[in-house]
Assembly symmetry: C2
Homo-oligomer: 195 residues x 2
Amino acid sequence: MTRQSLGPCVTFFPQPTTLIGSVDAGGHFDLMTASWVGVVSKTPPTMAVALNRGRQSFANIMASREFSVCVVPENLMAAADFCGLASGRDHDKFKLAGLTPEPATRIKAPLVAESPLCVECRVTGEVTLGDYQLILGEILDIQVAADAVGEEGRIDPQAIAPLVYLGGVREYWSLGRKVGTAYRDGKPLFPARKG
Amino acid sequence: MTRQSLGPCVTFFPQPTTLIGSVDAGGHFDLMTASWVGVVSKTPPTMAVALNRGRQSFANIMASREFSVCVVPENLMAAADFCGLASGRDHDKFKLAGLTPEPATRIKAPLVAESPLCVECRVTGEVTLGDYQLILGEILDIQVAADAVGEEGRIDPQAIAPLVYLGGVREYWSLGRKVGTAYRDGKPLFPARKG
């Protein structure tokens, strides 16, 4: 394939678009947009979130040792983009973005009531990476919108409608259509057993 | 919002679908499908990849201290799913998946010729998380398909056509349509300055 080098940069996608909920010692909630977020272990279930150490949300999480990760649905695109641009030191981001704090079940940090999928985490580790801190959080609970869960407990991706972030390209996209089923569609590629 | 608890689990999306390229001491290439992959710092550009420590690819990366992260396009869905099901100890995954190893520019681990966006990384750190290891890799270069780059260097997401993985739901989806522009569409939510 004919290729072009981009050099060392951070152009990579698809990534999630999330709002990280946190609370300071005075009980004030903050929100921060983050796309450098993902699952990193199943034993125990753990998420990793990379944040710039200068952010108010980072200070809150370091003090409280907990945070929420709320998946941003398509219809909250502008609200999420705002929460990435504004600082919790200057603005009440929940109010200006038109979002509603909702109590979590296992942590004091807020969930976003308008988010269809929220993860509640307790900090279990950290790694310093230049200006950023990779925060590891054990997943205590995941709260999903009841109307996104169908028969037999299947989560409907179109009901979640997660906003996909394209790092480097700096664009938000929607999910398209289902292309395949994991742990199944690759099976025909195994060589036939000799019998 | 009426919610349902999923308990502590790993149901979270959207996530990328990637193939991790590695090489063992004997020069044999291996590939492994991974969705627990993301950017974690810009200073320097760094990726994190979480792998099960039992995998051949994990052994290769620990020995060689380098790996590639190749974004899976929609049309390689079955090949990528196969590379997640099969073990490099038993199968030549490149051959059975119909994929072609391509030399990287900065590392000995292979790229996937059919992947439109490949990241070349050198291991800079590790964190043990139960059965998994979070591997941190400095990004040495990113190689993009030349025909996915348009005027003024803009990368065309539809030319990349990245496969989106839905963790927990275990489905692969396509990208849909552009919903917004990051660092711009949230600006109207700032309060008007008083004059």
